[in-house]
């Protein structure tokens, strides 16, 4: 059969496979054809190996698997894949071929998922637009003159353009949720510690989690079922966690949402604000109650984040030294080799963050910057704890704007960072959040962020499914319907 992969959910793809309406090989070929047709313009994949993908699909067809076996997937190129190049979007890892797969990739393999390839990202996941990739920017399928968000912009673009049914991303300050919002998708940032980070090229270990980027809330639940497992290779990945249930849309009687009104005054674009207010009305129409909550320290999240994340990054990225893997620039002595290698291998944003982090951790500044930021982190956590004493979940726009034009923020790092004001406090607190499509503003998607207490993924997915059903959002960008 001819398979139309545009807008095809992973849940539906699995049903086609289990109903023997198509084979995994046919499905993979349909996606590879789609990639060949549209990804030249979008540049959302960094690595595609059709022969490898088709061989993996044939293996699934032969093994007669169940569940999700044979369904394709795309992986952010921050996730190590054994035998398949992994660049983290950086020149310093050009040509690097991992000898082990990330735990989440291994679990995808165990579930029978078939990798279509590795997706573009801001270098080492440092960015909010995918423009900081050393391999060039990815374009937004809703408007190719605009960014897809970031850092998981490639993963967002492949799903929105029908080049994969779903993808994994990582989120350190909003890197799953913001690109999901910019591309009209569902993105889940799980509770810190619920998904293994083993094999994720490390940026900021105390903040980042792997999570699903999907067309529907149910697909997010299905993929979270695959990846939320204990691992003995990540000391922070530990239970207890609830098994993830498949959510059904329904009424929200008895649910109380907190709305941080003061935070909303901080420069939310008019159309984003209007769509957000409509979702508040939807919540009430479904029987939920809205109350104001205060998160007085959340506004300091940006400052705290831009100490803590670069500090951790400066330590993590010290491993790129031209000795064991990646680029080496030759020099007469080892120190000159380190400096030349790192100068040539890292891009401008990565250097900025290494410099901020090294400065903040250096003698005389450690307490004033790093420890102070960690104190703010405590206060942000306490804000959320206090709010969750009153409410079941908190609603905010995922990002204060829609997707911005390529190049618009590249010369102003602080403006780029400010796009994450509503997402990064959540990483500092280590709690989960779900971004669901929230309608269009001037033809571009907006996102509704639902934030919950630790290990509330099932609640978030159920709430997300309720909003999803009310919005009845079509996740296929108009330009993508006729593109193939």
């Amino acid at each position: 059969m001819a398979i139309d992969v545009i807008g095809l959910t992973a849940e539906r793809a699995a049903a086609l496979l289990r109903g023997r309406e198509c084979t995994s090989e046919e499905l993979a070929q349909a996606y590879l054809d789609r990639i060949a047709a549209v990804d030249g313009e979008l540049h959302s994949y960094l690595h595609v190996d059709p022969e490898r993908t088709l061989a993996a699909a044939r293996e699934q067809d032969a093994s007669g698997g169940d569940g999700l076996a044979g369904v394709p997937i795309a992986y952010k190129d921050l996730l190590s894949t054994r035998g398949v190049p992994t660049t983290a979007g950086s020149r310093i890892l050009e040509g690097f071929v991992p000898i082990e797969s990330a735990d989440v990739v291994r679990w995808g393999d165990e579930a029978g998922l078939v990798s279509l390839g590795k997706t573009n990202l801001d270098e080492f996941a440092m960015g909010s637009s995918t423009e900081h990739s050393a391999y060039g920017p990815t374009r937004n399928p809703w408007d190719v003159a605009r960014v897809p968000g970031g850092s998981s912009g490639g993963s967002a673009a492949v799903v929105a353009s029908g080049c994969a049914p779903w993808a994994l991303g990582t989120d350190t300050g909003g890197s799953i949720r913001q690109p999901a919002a910019f591309c009209g998708l569902v993105g889940l940032m799980p509770t810190y510690g619920s998904v293994s980070r083993f094999g994720v090229v490390a940026f900021a270990c105390s903040l980042e989690q792997v999570g699903p980027m999907t067309l529907t809330v149910r697909d997010a639940a299905l993929l979270q079922q695959v990846i939320a497992r204990d691992s003995d290779r990540d000391a922070t990945c530990t239970g207890p966690r609830e098994p993830i249930a498949l959510p059904e849309a329904g009424r929200l009687d008895g649910i109380t949402f907190g709305v941080p009104r003061a935070e909303l005054e901080a420069g939310v674009e008019e159309g984003v604000r209007a769509r957000f207010d409509e979702s508040l009305a939807i919540a009430e129409s479904l029987g939920a109650r809205l109350v104001d909550v205060e998160l007085p320290y959340a506004r300091h999240g940006l400052a705290a984040y831009y100490v803590i994340a670069p500090a951790e990054a400066s330590a993590n990225l010290s491993r790129f030294d031209g000795v064991r893997y990646g680029l080496r620039v030759d020099a007469p002595d080892v120190r000159a080799m380190y400096e030349a290698t790192r100068d040539a291998g890292f891009g401008a944003e990565v250097k900025r963050r290494i410099m901020i982090g090294t400065y903040a951790l250096s003698a005389g500044y450690h307490d004033a910057y790093y420890v102070q930021a960690q104190r703010v982190r405590t206060l942000i956590r306490r804000d959320f704890d206090a709010a969750f004493g009153q409410v079941d979940a908190i609603l905010l726009p995922t990002a204060p704007t829609t997707a911005f034009p390529i190049g618009a923020r590249l010369d102003d790092p602080l403006a780029m960072y400010a796009n994450d004001i509503f997402t990064l406090p959540v990483n500092l607190a280590g709690i989960p959040a779900l971004s669901v499509p929230n309608g269009l503003s001037e033809g571009l998607p907006t996102g509704l962020q639902i934030i919950g207490p630790a290990h509330s993924e099932n609640l978030l997915l159920r709430l997300g499914a309720a909003f999803e059903a009310e919005h009845a959002f079509d996740p296929v960008p108009p330009a993508m319907r006729s593109a193939s």
Binding site: T236, T238, A303, S318, G326, M337, R342, D343, R375, G430
Partner: protein
Amino acid sequence: MADVELTPDEVRHVAALARLGLADEEVERLGRELTSILGHVNTIAQLPIADVPPTKHANPHGDALRPDAARPGAPREEALANAPDPTPEGFRVPPIGA
């Protein structure tokens, strides 16, 4: 803490700590950018929160420790396969302190 303005010498000092060789124009640009970013970061420096305990990580459960048992590591040839300048037994580097 008063507003910081990073001088070129300070930028070079931090770059040396980070083992980043920087061209002169990068030193100038990073000085400007870091001054601006640290200016924003300084908004938290004044908060009177010295008695608040710092949060180092957000995991409420503590570390998960596995049994301290030996298990095989990567085979040598695999571990060396990505090295820019491997020998049959290890990683070759330029002279130290030449």
